[in-house]
């Protein structure tokens, strides 16, 4: 059994990893940290480099959790990418961070978190950034 954690290098992402690792330790399950960059541009600011990835895995070890980092590319289909990973790994829980968005922001950018909430076939745990 596995837990998928969506991670971006933001306070929300950190909160999601914290919650995911806690949940993994609690249930004694493996955690897969997903840091999925957008396909297309040569650089995605949300993609983390190897050093940051190693740091995440070190945190997981410190929490006593068996963790793995995945960085699949996505187009305009992040929810589908998550769903495919859920199917592939047999995950039972998805953990994502949420941030407050204005109406305009949601209209222009869409809300991928919302789409994951609506489209996921397994329970989703959402967390907010630490105040």
């Amino acid at each position: 059994m596995t837990i998928l954690v969506g991670y971006l290098p933001t306070p929300e992402g950190e909160a999601a990893v914290d919650a995911g690792l806690r949940e993994g330790a609690l249930r004694g399950e493996r955690v897969i940290i997903v840091n999925s960059p957008r396909r297309g541009a040569p650089v995605d600011e949300h993609m983390i480099d190897d050093a940051a990835g190693a740091e995440l895995l070190r945190r997981a070890r410190a929490a006593g959790v068996d963790a793995e980092l995945r960085q699949p590319l996505h187009d305009d289909d992040l929810p589908e990418t998550f769903e495919a990973l859920v199917k592939e790994t047999g995950a039972t829980l998805v953990v994502i961070g949420l941030r407050h968005r204005s109406l305009v922001g949601k209209f222009i950018m869409g809300s991928e978190a919302q789409r994951i909430l609506m489209e996921s076939t397994v329970p989703v745990l959402t967390v907010k950034a630490a105040q």
Partner: protein
């Protein structure tokens, strides 16, 4: 040497509009050098219609700025992402990326900027001194010499260019054939027009260049899947330390000279010189094993050389009227559009263009240096732009731009047709560069050859017996036979193999 035209040239450059176009050109060049997808050739092709609206000097100043600006832009991706934007930045990857991994990306970029500036400036000084001399020498050239020179130019580009030589020469011949479409200037006969009024006027350079260089690249990129995404790199301090500068100074000096000399060679001057400069530094180094592991000389040498070469590749264009590479062919076309025939007469007939362009490079290189170091952060951010968003915007600029030249939808269709041709050529291993270059030179070669025949009273041996044209024809034979000679040699040197790999 009379230096007043040179000073007048500075006057031309320092006009606010020309300064502005120089700045615009350098910025566009750096941006597209950083952005994946379009190269400088494609960008210059797409922007050709703009040159109608502005004067010849401003136009060429801007296009030249794009050309050498892109040389530096390509360095940024080489160092930060291990993705050489231009073929001439391939060797920069080895030590540039190694430095970036050590957290010294800023040092590499700073050294590259300073080296580019010095290399460019040395090369411009060389250009200033050498170009009028060559042009003066070439003033005695008659039609037979021009015919020979044109053929040599086409042959050199085809044989040094990327990929298979045979295919390149076939592409060049097709370019020569397309150049004959329209009314024959000697007899007035209509050739390959199929009764079409549009074709009777001949095919314009702009739609060919926009289609084969611009649109074909966009169409080709459409099917490319970008499957590599990188984490943002940290640049750090861009100012190289005094120690680094000291270490790189020799490499910069030698790179400038290598770049200047090799840049004059038609074809891959910039590529060749960056390789040669890197190789020379590695050979001279006391500890050659440092190379590939973050030696500053390994960045300084090729970057200096490729900028020096980019500058000196203007010499054949401005003095002989022979473009040394595909981008120079576009410059040639842009000058022709303005009714200016590049060649030995340029320096005497249009000193404002000649010296304006050369002197704009001094200013452009200063602009490049001023902007590159503080603006690295901006360029790094540009890497986040998705090509998928840029592509349709570029397409619209291309198609609408093509229309604005003569306000004819026919031109749009022509651009699309040549875009498809260029796309198919790329798919089948033919480079569009030689075709465009041969097209540009085509009518010059034909009319010179026919005038030559008239001069010699129909005796083609006249081309060979005149001393200068005879020498050039001997060179043509040497270039044509070179692949056979090389095959006969026992074993290629490793440099040549590397070169072929890179191309």
């Amino acid at each position: 040497m009379d230096i007043s035209p040179i000073l007048d040239g500075f006057g031309v450059v320092l006009e606010p509009t020309n300064l502005l176009y120089c700045l615009i050109g350098v910025i566009i060049g750096m941006l597209i050098g950083v952005l994946p997808g379009l190269g400088p050739g494609a960008t210059i092709a797409i922007l050709l219609p703009i040159t109608y609206g502005i004067g010849p000097v401003s136009a060429i100043i801007m296009l030249a700025g794009i050309f050498y600006g892109a040389q530096y832009g390509g360095t940024i991706t080489s160092v930060l992402l291990r993705l050489p934007g231009e073929a001439s930045s391939v060797v920069t990857v080895f030590d540039g990326f190694a430095l970036a991994k050590q957290g010294k990306a800023g040092t590499a970029l700073g050294i590259a900027a300073i080296g580019s500036f010095i290399g460019g400036t040395v090369s411009i000084i060389g250009l200033t001194l050498v170009a009028p001399v060559v042009a003066g020498f070439a003033l005695d050239f008659g039609p037979p010499e021009y015919a020979a020179l044109g053929i040599l130019g086409v042959l050199l580009i085809s044989s040094i260019g990327n990929g298979n030589k045979l295919k390149a020469i076939i592409a060049a011949c097709v370019g020569l054939l397309i150049a004959t479409v329209g009314r024959d200037t000697f007899t007035g006969a209509e050739r390959f027009t199929f009764g079409s009024l549009n074709l009777a006027e001949g095919i314009d350079f702009i739609p060919i260049a926009m289609g084969l260089f611009g649109l074909s690249e966009i169409l080709y990129n459409l099917e490319e899947r970008h499957n590599q995404v990188h984490a943002p790199a940290k640049v750090g301090n861009v100012w190289p330390s005094r120690k680094d500068l000291g270490q790189a100074s020799g490499a910069i000096g030698r790179g400038s000279l290598i770049g200047f000399v090799l840049g004059v060679l038609p074809g891959g001057g910039a590529v060749l010189s960056s390789l040669a400069a890197y190789a020379l530094e590695k050979r001279r180094a006391k500890q050659p094993e440092r190379f590939g592991k973050g030696a500053v000389e390994g960045v300084a040498a090729p970057e200096t050389a490729n900028n020096a070469a980019a500058t000196s590749s203007f010499i054949p264009l401005l003095t002989l009227g022979i473009p040394a590479n595909a981008t120079m062919a576009l410059m040639f076309g842009a000058l022709l559009i303005q009714g200016i025939q590049p060649g030995p007469q340029l320096v005497t007939e249009h000193p404002d263009v000649f010296w304006g362009v050369i002197n704009s490079m001094y200013i452009g290189n200063i602009l490049l240096l001023i902007m590159s170091i503080p603006m690295v952060g901006v360029f790094v951010r540009i890497l986040r732009v998705r090509p998928a968003i840029m592509a349709p915007i570029t397409v619209l600029i291309t198609l609408l731009g093509a229309y604005t030249v003569r306000n004819q939808v026919y031109d749009i269709f022509l651009v699309i047709a040549f875009g498809v041709l260029g796309y198919l050529m790329k798919k089948f291993g033919f480079e569009p560069g030689p075709l465009v270059l041969a097209f540009v030179l085509g009518s010059m070669i034909e009319s010179s050859a026919r005038q030559g025949l008239l001069i010699f009273g129909g005796d083609p041996t006249g081309f060979v017996t005149r001393p200068i044209s005879g020498t050039i024809f001997a060179l043509i034979l040497a270039v044509a036979a070179w692949p056979l000679i090389r095959k006969a040699l026992p074993r290629k040197t490793s440099v040549e193999r590397v070169e072929e790999k890179i191309k």
